[in-house]
Amino acid sequence: MTRTDWTPRSRSAIAARVAEDIPEGWYVNLGIGVPTLVADRVPEGREVIFHAENGILGIGPAPDPAAVERWLVNAGKQHVTLLPGGCYFHHADSFGMIRGRHLDLCVLGAYEVSAAGDLANWARSVGDTAPAVGGAMDLAIGAQRVWIAMEHVTRKGAPRLVERCSYPLTSPGCVKRIYTDLAVIDVTPRGFEVRDMVPGLTLAALQDMTDAPLALAVAPDALRMG
């Protein structure tokens, strides 16, 4: 594949594509990386309430560098702001919200997602280096919906959408939808179903970069090209 007829979405464009699908009024937790970018791409005037594991609801845009509040960081330890209507609570209450299924959505990054919705995003292996899990497992089981935002393949070109995860699982069967630089794909009882692809990309070409069968989404209004 030396030439392609399509342009992958940028990280920011993936985030925008995710943001487009978030309805007003949802409570949303954003993971580190591309997911974090989603907050800035929510369409103007649409109220979405962002949650951070470290006890914040109602996170606003990044602060003016000249006016950083050093006591206000998100779960990625970045400085943030609080919107009017935001509030603070402690870690047990915060994970009560997560585990208790009060979040409408969590957007996470991933190493791999399987056709059964298994998520691997916390460790590339177990044991060889100091492992760290953070809140990934709580978010994966707790949010009403888990959406993944990631590159479709690794830097070496290996598929990240796979028949079976090779990395340690974060949670089995938790992923509902995947937003990559090439496509938006639902995880259904029938496996991966493509909702949209970037212009110029074909299902056959996408399948070549995917390690599990792809089908086009059956609902006619679900498939959107471009």
Binding site: L83, Y88, F95, G100, R101, H102
Partner: protein, 226 residues
Amino acid sequence: MIDKFVPSIAEALEGIPDGATLLLGGFGAVGQANLLIEGLLETGLGNLTVVANNAGYGTVGLARLLREGRVRKLICSYPRIAGSTIFEELYAAGRIELELVPQGTLAERMRAAGAGIPAFYTPTGAGTELARGKEICDFDGRPHVLEHALHGDAALIEAWEADRWGNLTYRMAGRNFNPVCAAAASRTIAQTQHVRELGSLDPEAVATPGIFVDRIVHIPYGDPQD
């Protein structure tokens, strides 16, 4: 724009099904969502399971609901009504089922439901009639009872202040079970004494973050009577 206020009690209660499990905040005369509870009488709902610390107060709220025969089962720590024998008569006549639960276990079972914990062990009640038939397990040489989460189809609660995102504060002992019920139900409906602009509540002092609240009605009834 997110706006959880609804103009009428009828709209606030819309969608609660017959036979629902309702969680009611309040302790004694304080913090009872009496007008919401009495609104249930208009809806014609019956066959209800009610979770509340007492069997009502005086002749209002839950006491009326009981008198009108709308409650099939009461899950309660102290099923008495000050100055009334409504509950005792129903119970003696076999017209209501009672599940008696120690007060702390009642609170913790709802807290567990809100926090995604399906079951937990507690020392409360071990070695008593109220543990009969329950799973017992020793921890640190002390017997503990396995108790299960108590989830509501709806919670009816009373707040002191509310904003359009559903953030709530309570007044003094009016807090009691209200925040616990709010987190434990599929839909949480609050009556509030005061309406506040978004951003005017102290983010450090919000007792129930809006994520737990679905609908709010402004009912400035004044002080609780007893």
